[in-house]
């Protein structure tokens, strides 16, 4: 911590006051949170969409504040709160994604007064922001828990059948256990270092001198918590079930937003810890290598056999997590490709889930086989879905390809620096899993176009806006694939 007890209390107050502006977006979110609760309680009965309007408004203003914050690099609240472009961009992505998810929910769950779901969403976003902006374990834990609890609620919120309830339970219990384990690990780390800021020199020194066995336990326990949020192997087990069970809108949420915050946190953690030449650095590095490789393998291989599109997407997102970890591994003080891949990932997943949901609405099923022969019925939708599949595999001319390319570039650079076999292996696995992923992603066009089903029974749907949104996102996927500079220059500027 950056100050001492000897400092007069007034300085502390001044400093806190000075830090308030840095906290503006989050304050706004808090305000929105309360506002939505209130509106859900009192206005929601009469004006169905009022809460949603408030929600959107909050999001928009937040985004505005955030982009105003872009250039700032500062720390506040005596070093607990830190702001840099990385976090700001991440938060913008989160907020935007949150907005889309909000729209998604609003479109799909019109019935009944479910205004307070928006407040929960806002809470989740808030938690995410906290994750992005802190290097302090307390805040990190608070953030994680906020996000988690919000997510539990979201999963359980609409539960109308066994599956959804079960999903909620599995998610909640598994999450809580992981959180508990992480907390225990944190306590150990605290004990070993006497510091709660993982970037602070005290903590690093503490870790350097710490006895290896205990340190091992501590680190792995901590990673458990993060692993649960990012759902990488071996903490991925919950995600297929939960993805399948949860309502599609919520699945879309789970597969994108919570990962971003956790990823940013992990990035900071990794960059802070892997910098030294001591045991814990080696441990962190080898851990991330191992996890990313296994995640890519397990995720893509397990997806081969899936018959349910949502499960399939769950495994695919596990694979993508592995790839994101690859990006984290190669992260060296320059974030463009990391952010770019995150954006690509969010974009692709949101669009995909929007279409999945639209199809679920029409066919009443999320089984791949239900798509048989629909390609001719809904050519545009399935063409877009195919484009998304191509992007998820990582083929040009889509944003997915650029993302992959950038990550490969970065990793290859590290390989060139430190001539390590493991890194090369990482690269090769990253490349080969793309081939494997082709198998299952192309099940979608395979069923839609190649399979023949003369009389597919489909009901017409009313949520047109959503599908159009999907088309727009798909267009972005291709556009940004052809001219990534638009986005990249934005990030790098």
């Amino acid at each position: 911590m950056t100050y001492t007890v000897t400092a007069p209390i007034t300085d502390v107050l001044d400093q806190i006051m000075a830090s308030i502006p840095l906290f503006k977006p989050e304050l706004l979110l808090i305000g929105g949170f309360i506002a939505t609760i209130v509106s859900a309680l009192f206005v929601g009965k009469r004006l169905r969409n009022f809460t949603f309007a408030v929600y959107l408004l909050t999001i928009l203003i937040t985004i505005y504040f955030l982009q105003a914050q872009l250039p700032t690099v500062a720390t506040g609240f005596s070093g607990m709160w830190m702001i840099d472009p990385l976090s700001t961009y991440a938060r913008i992505i989160i907020a935007t994604g949150g907005g889309i998810i909000g729209l998604f929910i609003q479109q799909r769950h019109k019935l009944g007064n479910n205004g307070d779901v928006y407040s929960i969403l806002l809470a989740a976003i808030l938690g995410m922001n906290v994750l992005c902006n802190s290097s302090n374990w307390i805040l990190a834990f608070i953030g994680i828990e906020t996000v988690s609890i919000a997510s539990y609620v979201l999963v359980g919120y609409f539960s109308q059948n066994k599956a959804q309830a079960e999903a909620a339970m599995k998610y909640a219990l598994f999450g809580s256990v992981c959180a508990a384990v992480m907390l225990y690990g944190l306590s150990l780390i605290y004990g070993l270092t006497g510091s709660l800021d993982f970037q602070s020199p005290e903590q690093l020194q503490g870790l350097m001198v710490a006895p290896e066995p205990i340190l091992t336990i501590a680190l792995l326990f901590v990673f458990v918590g993060i692993g649960f949020k990012l759902s990488f192997v071996p903490f991925h087990v919950w995600s297929p079930d939960v993805y399948e069970g949860a309502p599609t809108a919520i699945t879309a949420f789970l597969s994108t937003i919570p990962k971003i915050g956790a990823l940013i946190l992990f990035t900071r953690l990794y960059t802070a810890w892997s910098s030294t030449a001591f045991y814990f650095s080696d441990l962190t590095t080898s851990f991330i290598l191992f996890v990313s490789i296994t995640s890519m393998l397990v995720g893509n291989l397990a997806a081969l056999r899936q018959k349910n599109i949502k499960r399939l997407m769950a495994y695919s997102s596990i694979g993508h997590t592995g790839f994101l970890l690859m990006a984290v591994f190669a992260y060296q003080a320059n974030y463009p490709y990391l952010l770019f891949y995150i954006m690509a990932y969010v974009l692709m997943n949101l669009a995909t889930f929007i279409f999945i949901d639209a199809l679920e609405e029409r066919t009443g099923s999320t089984a791949l086989s239900a798509y048989a022969g629909l390609g001719r019925k809904m050519p545009i939708l399935f063409t877009s879905l195919t484009v998304l599949a191509v992007s998820l595999v990582g083929l040009p001319p889509t944003i997915g390809f650029i993302g992959k390319l950038l990550v490969f570039t970065a990793v290859f650079d590290t390989y060139q620096m430190a001539d390590e076999g493991a890194v090369l292996f990482l690269l090769i696995v990253g490349a080969l899993t793309a081939v494997i992923s082709l198998f299952y992603y192309f099940r979608i066009p395979f069923y839609a176009f190649l399979k023949n089903n003369e009389s597919p029974d489909i009901v017409s749907s009313d949520s047109k806006i959503l599908v159009w949104l999907g088309y727009v996102l798909t267009a972005c996927v291709i556009l940004l694939g052809l001219f990534p500079s638009i986005l990249l220059n934005l990030i790098t500027s």
Binding site: M169, K170, L173, F174, V177, C178, V181, E212, P213, T216, I217, L220, F221, V224, G227, P234, F235, V237, W238, P240, D241, L283, V298, L301, A302, A303, L304, R305, I436
Partner: protein, 676 residues
């Protein structure tokens, strides 16, 4: 006429081609064959008048243009006119012309006649082009086109399975030779860096002594391994085209084509192309290669003659005799006296073509008989013929001349050429001495056998009594001379098969203008005795053979006159004859059958075997491809798939199972990290 030889020779080549194109366009509308006929006759006139006489008396000329450039090397096409080429070209024309005439009558009424003329013109184009090519690549192109045309003509009656089989066989075996040729070309190119005949061997070919050895060849050792390989490769090409043992198997089958075609392509011209090629690249050959050539020639000549003895199919006999005569020419080249080879090539072209045409006439008539008297018999089988000279005397006459020429009786062209080869071979052997005498000895034996089997053919066909006399006696005059359209070409060729065409002196082959035209220096001394004895021996041998044949096939064995003072002697003679009979004739025939069987089942069987084995290998390769190569691919795919299946075992839906799995993983990790 004042056309330059170059232009004229170009016209000679182009005319048949244009005929081919015209007929291809006209299609069924042109069945008369007038176009082809006109083209070939014009070619003949031009070739004789404006090319041959100019170049033969004057000196060689050439014309070439750059065809294309690869990298820095440029390949040229052009026309090379020297004695050899113009001679060959003229020969082709002179043979092709009568065959065209003959075909008009012979092929009349065949549906698909338009194709026949088309193919024939194509063949003439290719063959004529082959003769005057200046570049080995160009030569190769025409070489293969010739093979292609012959493929088409053999398979002319493509509904007959035998024909189709035959033409496939012919093309494939020729393809082997073509490969040899191609490899030879490639090797030569790799060693010397050019394929232009002039750059290789000098302007007027190798026979004008001053340019005999070309500088580009001087640079490299003629006896180097690669040059030997190249020579052998070229030999392989020649062997396939000229049906040399063991690649001769395609020629007998090729008789499935129309007889006129056989006479032109498979007797006179195309099969001679191999010899022509060898003469063209002659300077390339070193002692080794030459010896191989001689050996192969001898084996071919001998074996084919033996096979011919046992045949009953009239065309097969002629086919085998062709092979055997080609063997003679090979020997001629092999012993370095390629001029004798060319001489024999020329004379053989005439009389063998004649023989085929006559055979064609006979078959033609026989099948008429077959058509009229609804009998079923093979119109080509000797055993069904006999006594035909009463019905078709002119044909008989021509056939007789041809046969005499083939068996090398004096006053015929065959006498000159055959003697030239045998005598030179003898001289060659004399200079090398020792076991080399096998060669001339074999040749002499072969020529006796030749005389015998051709005599047999003549006797069996034209003497004795006709098998189906009673049917014809029934009044239908269905057996008569062929139409004049067929007769005239035969007579013409018969005339050409006599000595005057080649030299004023009927007995001295040195005096023939061909030999004097390309005078070759052979590096061994002349044996004047040989020039006397060998011809004599040959003639006597031939006569003996014919008499035996006469005895056997005409007189139906020895009519004994009891009231004759010669009886005892005759008896003894008879005993001798018995002896002779048992020993030689029967023996020879047995041997013939035996060897023919060998040829059928071993040599030809070998090709069949090769085909079979290749197919088996192919099937095996496909099996490997399907089950192993592709199998591996699918296996890896399935393995991946299965691993994916394994990865799902964790997902059993048990929450605590999940937790257990995750935490166990962590614990294991911790343990590993602590222990290691």
């Amino acid at each position: 006429m004042n056309i330059s030889p170059i232009v004229a020779s170009l016209l000679v080549v182009v005319l048949p081609f244009s005929a081919f194109v015209i007929q291809a366009i006209l299609g069924r509308r042109s069945v008369s064959g007038n176009v082809a006929l006109m083209a070939i006759s014009l070619s003949s006139i031009l070739s004789a008048g404006c090319v041959f006489f100019v170049v033969w008396t004057g000196e060689a000329t050439l014309e070439r243009i750059t065809w294309f450039t690869i990298g820095t090397k440029s390949f040229s096409v052009g026309i090379l006119l020297n004695k050899l080429t113009v001679f060959m070209q003229l020969l082709v024309c002179i043979i092709a012309l009568p065959v065209h005439l003959y075909s008009r009558a012979y092929m009349k009424g065949d549906d698909g006649l338009h194709r026949y003329w088309m193919y024939l013109s194509l063949f003439c184009f290719a063959m004529l082009g082959l003769t005057i090519s200046i570049n080995l690549l160009q030569l190769y192109i025409f070489w293969e086109l010739v093979g292609f045309a012959s493929y088409l003509l053999i398979g002319f009656w493509f509904t007959r399975d035998a024909a189709v089989q035959a033409n496939k066989k012919a093309f494939l075996i020729n393809r082997i030779g073509d490969l040899g040729f191609l490899i030879g070309i490639a090797l030569l190119y790799a060693q010397v860096g050019t394929l232009d005949l002039v750059e290789l061997f000098g302007k007027s070919g190798f026979f004008s002594t001053e340019t005999a050895v070309h500088d580009s060849l001087q640079l490299l050792d003629k006896n180097s391994a690669w040059i030997t390989c190249a020579g052998l490769a070229f030999l392989l090409g020649a062997m396939a085209k000229s049906a040399q043992f063991p690649l001769h198997v395609w020629l007998p089958d090729a008789m499935e084509g129309p007889t006129s075609v056989s006479s032109l392509i498979h007797a006179a011209t195309m099969v001679a192309a191999g010899i022509f090629l060898l003469c063209t690249v002659f300077p390339l050959f070193n002692e080794t290669v030459l010896l191989v050539i001689t050996g192969i020639g001898t084996i071919t000549a001998f074996s084919a003659a033996i096979f011919a003895l046992g045949q009953y199919d009239i065309k097969k006999i002629l086919a085998f005799s062709t092979i055997s005569q080609l063997g003679f020419m090979m020997v001629g080249v092999g012993i370095g006296a390629w001029d004798t080879a060319m001489l024999h090539l020329a004379t053989h072209a005439f009389f063998k073509c004649l023989l085929f045409l006559c055979a064609g006439a006979v078959i033609h008539e026989m099948s008429h008989v077959k058509a009229h008297t609804n009998l079923t018999f093979d119109p080509q089988d000797l055993r069904n013929m006999g006594g035909l000279r009463h019905y078709m005397p002119k044909t008989f006459l021509c056939m007789l001349i041809g046969a005499l020429a083939l068996s090398g009786f004096p006053l015929t062209a065959g006498y000159l050429s055959k003697d030239s080869i045998v005598v030179t071979a003898f001289e060659w052997a004399a200079s090398h001495g020792g076991s080399y005498f096998i060669i001339p000895a074999a040749l002499i034996l072969v020529s006796v056998l030749t005389a015998f089997y051709i005599g047999r053919l003549v006797f069996k066909t034209f003497f004795g009594s006709f098998s189906f006399r009673e049917h014809i006696a029934a009044g239908k005059p269905s057996l008569h001379e062929p139409p004049s359209m067929m007769l005239w070409p035969m007579l013409f060729l018969a005339a050409c098969s006599l000595f005057p065409l080649f030299g004023v002196q009927p007995l001295a082959y040195q005096q023939t203008w061909i030999i004097r035209g390309f005078h070759v220096e052979v590096d061994y001394p002349a044996q004047h005795a040989a020039h006397l004895f060998i011809p004599l021996g040959l003639t006597i041998g031939a006569i003996v053979a014919w008499t035996v044949g006469w005895q056997w096939y005409v007189k139906q064995k020895y009519p004994l006159r009891v009231d004759n003072s010669w009886v005892q002697w005759a008896n003894r003679q008879g005993y001798l004859n018995e002896l002779n009979d048992t020993l030689f004739v029967k023996g020879t025939l047995k041997l013939s059958d035996l060897l023919y069987a060998f040829d059928r089942y071993v040599v030809d069987g070998l090709t069949k075997l090769v085909t079979w084995v290749t197919q088996r290998i192919a099937v095996f390769a496909y099996w490997v491809d399907k089950h192993i190569v592709d199998g591996l691919v699918n296996l890896s795919a399935n393995t991946t798939y299965y691993i994916g299946h394994l990865a799902r075992h964790v997902q059993n839906g048990q929450l605590q199972g999940y937790m257990g799995f995750a935490l166990t993983a962590v614990i294991l990790g911790i343990l590993y990290l602590i222990i290691k």
